[in-house]
Structures are given as C-alpha cells and as structure tokens.
C-alpha cells in the first residue's frame, strides 16, 4: 500500500487503475441501461459516453472562458467596469496594427504550407522502403520543445557583421556565395516570414502523420475501380485521393490554424516580439501576466476567439456536407 501512496510510480499506477475502474463502472451502467430501461436508454448512454468529458470541459474551460469574457469589460484589477475600453485598446494600441497584420500572415501561411508539405511528403514515402525513417525525420521537429526549436534556428539565422566570421548556417552560406550577410530576424517585414518558417518546420510533421493515416485509409476497392477505368495518376490524385482524404485535410488545416493563433513561444524566444514581429497571442500573454492587466488581456483573448469564428463556421459547413453525403 505504501508503494501506491509514497512512490511516484505507485501513484501513477494508482490513478490509472482507479480511472480504469471508474470507466468500467460507467460502461457497466450503460450496458445495464441498454438491457433494461427502455426510454431513458439514450440518455444513459449519452451520460456515460459524453458525460465525463463534458463535465471536465465545463469546469475547466467553459467556466474560465465565461470568466475571461466577463473580465474583458473591467479594469486591470477587475474592480471597475470600463465598458468597451479594453477592446478599443486592443484594436488601437500602437502595436495593434502590426500584431494583427502578423497574426493574419501566420494564420494564412502556416496551415497551407505545413499541410502541403506534409501531404506531398506523405504520398511520396507511402509504402516505400524507408517509410519509417523518412516519417521520423519529418516528425522529429514535433518532438523538440519550442525552447529547443528556438535554439536550433538561432544557429541557422544568426547574424554577424560582414567582417566577422558567421556562425549562422544561412549567413555562412550566403557569405560563401559572396553576398552580404542578412539580418534574418531583425529586418522587418521579412523577419516574420523567417519565424513562420520555424512553425512550418514543426507542424509539417503533424500534417504528415494525420494525412498519412488518411491516405492509407482510402479503400483499395475504389482505387482498383478507378484504375480499371483507366485514369492516370494525376487524375487519380485529384479526383480520388484528395476528395477521399478531404475531411482529414480540413481537420489538419483547422487544427494547425487554431494552434497558430495560440502559439507565442516562437516569437517570444526568438525575437522577444521585437522588430515588428509581435503577434496577438504574445500581446495577450504580456498584458495578462507581465503587466498584470486582466482587462486588456481578457479582451485580447476574446479578440483571438472572434478570429477563430470563421474557421469554426467553415468547419460546421464541412461537417454538414459530409453528413449529407454519408447519409
């Protein structure tokens, strides 16, 4: 018993065992409900399958979301109501234009580029001899924390004056070719693109994993039928493969978009959001936690949420369409 209480692994096993037991109990309830109760059956199943998750979400995310929305109409210490003042600030502060511009660029480029590269790569290595290794290489950046990624790319982008020895890979290459070294992270507006490259580097692996699974899921019957009909590979790709994995494409694009809206680590560690590289998520963190202004920070969080709505709307329409097709 001591093991379970006083040893970390013991506690870990304990929580897993307890959790498994709880789930077993829940499933047993659903099973019993299935056999005996007639009408309440559907609600019992819903409560068992959906209940725990929805409960956790309500406590852990919905309540804080409401609280955030509420705080966005109050001042820094959440003492006095200030109406829409925080929102005005969010959209009109000196850094706002840059932050919004950059955020849009991030949300536009990262999902598209990551998905494209992930998809192409997934197709190219599918069922090849080196599939495992190839996939691991593209996936590796995801396994590295953002701090690690920041350091890695520091060695790539580092700038030294023309008379000095370069220690950054890109500048070494550029000077070897005979050109002047480039201040990748310091010169606006291109520096944002170089930060975006880091995010793409990380997210392509995510896209690849999901799309690879989707590609493998395309039923072989359909492929054979198409081949018997004599389609060439490009038509196959455009008319069979892509439509078949379309739901996964949407999933990948949406997920990466949302992640991009939230991530501020790269900007923060590589340029400290200086040199016109500010993004909304970083501003939000600054105002909420560094400056202690809960009002403005919350307003910025809500602003980010508003930006997500188009993505959500698009997804809803896609899901409705898919449901119509599947019947």
């Amino acid at each position: 018993m001591d093991f379970f209480l006083y040893n970390k692994f013991g506690q870990m096993l304990l929580v897993i065992i307890v959790f498994a037991a709880l789930i077993a109990v829940l499933l047993a309830i659903a099973w019993a409900a299935d056999r005996w109760i007639g009408k309440g059956r559907r609600w019992a199943a819903l409560a068992v399958f959906g209940g725990p998750a929805l409960l956790l979400l309500a406590v852990g995310l919905i309540w804080p979301a409401i609280r955030t929305f509420y705080m966005s109409f109050y001042d820094a210490g959440t003492n006095n109501a200030v109406g829409l003042q925080n929102y005005v600030f969010t959209f009109t502060n000196t850094g706002a234009v840059i932050a919004f511009r950059n955020t849009f660029i991030w949300v536009f480029l990262v999902p598209i580029a990551s998905t494209l590269i992930g998809l192409i790569y997934a197709i190219l290595v599918d069922r090849s001899k080196f599939e495992k290794i190839a996939k691991s290489l593209l996936f590796l950046p995801m396994a590295i924390s953002f701090v690690g990624a920041g350091i890695i790319w520091k060695f790539v982008y580092e700038y030294r004056g023309a008379a000095q020895e370069q220690i950054g890979l890109l500048n070494a290459f550029i000077t070897w070719l005979g050109f002047e070294p480039v201040r990748f992270l310091q010169d606006a507006p291109w520096n944002t693109l170089f930060l975006i490259a880091v995010m793409i580097w990380i997210q392509a692996g995510f896209a690849m994993v999901i799309l690879s699974a989707a590609i493998k899921a395309v039923p072989t019957d359909i492929i054979e039928a198409a081949r018997l009909d004599g389609v060439n590979a490009w038509e196959m790709f455009r008319n069979i493969t892509v439509p078949s994995i379309r739901p996964s494409l949407v999933v990948v694009l949406t997920t990466i978009s949302i992640a991009t809206l939230k991530i501020f680590d790269i900007t923060r560690t590589m340029t400290g959001a200086r040199f016109d590289t500010q993004v909304l998520a970083n501003q939000m963190f600054d105002y909420s936690f560094v400056f202690g202004d809960n009002g403005v920070g919350s307003a910025m969080a809500v602003a980010i949420f508003i930006l997500v709505i188009p993505l959500v709307a698009y997804n809803i329409r896609q899901m409705a369409k898919n449901r119509a097709v599947r019947g």
């Binding site: 004056g161 000095q164 992270l185 040199f275 936690f289 560094v290 400056f291």
Partner: protein
Amino acid sequence: MKRTTARRTGAAVAGGLAFALALTACSGSDLGGGGDDGGDGGGDAACEDYADYGTFEGDEVTILSSIREQEADQMEDTFVDFEECTGIDVVHNGIGEFETQVVVQAEGGNAPNLAIIPQPGLLARLVNDGYILEPNEQTVANAQEGWTEEWLNYGTVDGTFYAAPLMASVKSFVWYSPTAFEENGYEVPTTWDELIALSDQIVADHGGDGVVKPWCAGIESGGATGWPATDFIEDMVLREAGPEVYDQWVTHEIPFNDPQILAATERAGSILRNEDYVNGGIGDSRSIATTSFNDGGLPILEGNCFMYRMASFYEAQWPEGTDVSPEGDAFAFYLPGDDADSKPLLTAGEFVGAFDDNEATQAVQAFMSSGEWANLRVTIGGVTSANNAVDPANASSDVLRLAIELLQDPDAVSRFDGSDLMPSAVGAGSFWTGMTEWIDGADTQTVLDQIEASWPAS
C-alpha cells in the same frame, strides 16, 4: 506476422516495465516523508545564535524565488544550521518564470510562505492586491539596522514597510581585460571624460579593420530583450541629471520624455549608437539588438573589444578557466561619474515578502533580514549584499569585494534599477521594447514619446 509483432510488443512492454521498476528504486521516485530532518536540535553550541528565532516542531516554510542551479544550492546552505536549531524545515523552490508564477500561485490560492522578489514594482502590486503581509518587529529592527534608508524605501509601499532587502548587485560596472589594458598601456578611467578619451584612443590604435572596437554590447534576452540598455540609460540619468531627477523620473513626477531624460539617452547613444565605438567583434550598432547579453562581453577575450558595461553578476558568464582578477583576463572597473568625487551607483537586489503571518514564516523572514544571514551568504560565495554588517573580506572574489566596497561606500549615491521600480507595463514592457527599437535605429525623441504614452493612467 501477427505473432512476431505480438512478441515484439510484449518485449517492449516488458522492457518498459523493467525500466520503470529500476527507476522506482531511484530515490527520485519517492514522495515526501523522505529526506533528512535535523533531528536532534540544540546539540550544537552554535544554536545560541539562533535562540531568538524560537523553536518549532518540524514546521515547513516554503520560499519561492527565481534563483536556480548553483546559486540556489548556495542559498539553501545558509539554512542548514538554522533548520537544525529551530526545527523549521525550509523548502526552497527556484523557478524560471518566477514573476508570472508568483502571481498565478498567489491568485490561485496556492501562495508560498515567502517569496524573494527582484522588483519593488512587483512587490507593490502584490501588496496592493492584498497578498503580502507585514513582517514582525524583529525583521523591521534587523532591516533598519542593516540597510540605508534608500534601500528600506524600496521595500516600503504606501508608507508601510513590507520586505527587507536580501542580496544586491552592482550595475555600474564596466568589464575589461587587465592584460589587454596592460599590453596597450591603457589606464582605468576615473571620470566620464577619461572614459570617452580612452574610447577614442582605442579607435585610433585599433580602428582600422572594422572588427576591433572599443566597446561591445548585447541586449538580447528573449522576452526581456532590451533590459541592459535600460540599465545604461539609468546610469546616464544618474550622471546627467542627478539622483533627485532620477527619483522623479521613476515615480513619473516628470514625464518620461523630459528633456533631461532625452539628454541622458543621447549620452548613452554617444557610445551605443556610435559606429566607431560598437559592436566589437560582432558587427555594427544594430547588431547589439540581436546579441545576447550573456555573449556580449566575450569579444573581450578575443581582443575584439575592450569594454563591456554590465552588472556584477556577469562574473558567472565568463567561460570556465577565465582568470577573473585585477591582473587577469577579465575584471571590472566602476563606471565613472562625471568627476572623481561623484559616485552615482546603480544597484539591484531582491526583497523578501511574506504571504502569511505564521510564526515559522516570520522567523525565517527575520533570519533572512539579519546581518548574520548576509555574512553567511556572502562567505559561501558568488553574491554580494548591501547589508552594513557584511565584511568585504568575506566576499568570494575580487569583483564581489569591489562591489561590496562600493555598496558600503558612504559617498556613493546608490539608486535601485529604475525599470524594476516602474509599473511593469513600462518597466517590463515599453521601456524594454523602446530601447530595442532605439538600438535598432529609431529616433530618440519618438521612442521616449512612445514610452511616455504607455505609462498606465493610475
């Protein structure tokens, strides 16, 4: 096929379990209850020193700080005898993200007993939000005995004293290479004009290849990029305008873009934005913005620059094996005032605030505010304290000895780091970003105007 995969999975799982079991044997996997308690207190003669703090029965006091690694080990060593004699278990947790976490933990209802706070501005915020309580009389008495009024003011919020200072660092230092100075026949400057003359001399002697410069600088520091430049400006304000103006500046009695502040900034610019003077071994003045402050002084060792203005704690950044001594590879001299008599000194430090008024908490807080603790800590090494009771001879290195002497110099006019005193929207926000833009080439007046505009209304 299936059987081999099943077997492989089984092997993997078995291996994993074995690995986990091996790890369980590690002490690191034990939770609580372990560790060595002091056990029999009172057995040591030295305990009479600790009699004032009372005796307890294994009460735990947690301290939260941003001190980590070796420095954390050293600090924890100061409590060994204290713990044994009083029976208190002092648990120190050092974390990065301290400024964020201390607020989150406090607001989340999970505050530590004590916190070591590096910014008086943050201290004020925690006091105003009602999280930090007043210390006991012993602490107040210790503080009044140990520090000058200026230091005590920084631990005071709205007239009430809340937190005694702990350690200190001196920021008005210029790092240089004694051997390089020796070789070139340079003398350590004692006035600002001599400093500039020296810089010009170096340009004349070495300025040919575009690589070697008199000064190097680096202000990059992740989310805090820009802070070394704020230190430079603060040093200049002290020299250009004087301590009274400095006080008015940090409390916003005069606006940030006051002409005196502008003048001070331009004086800093006469070095930091002077292409003849910077950035030795790395590039031009703009490259200062992307050079990390840790690396900023390294060109000195390569002979590519001669001076680096940085705080006393930079000592830890020199690569292992560097001889940091008055005749060695690296040492620091005091950033001179305008004349040989004036000694403006920019300092920094931490303050110990209590989140509750338990007796054990207050006992630890009192101990940390005492001269005994200060001497103990300085002797262990690596840091300085502004406590009057500290004997400079205890300092563990020449740089630290110099720092303590400066701190205790009655002629020195010391002021705390300005950006730590200002509200964080400025001191950890627009001042930092403004300085980065300024180094990157922006117009001085525009930058100061922007910072002024960002000062919070309240």
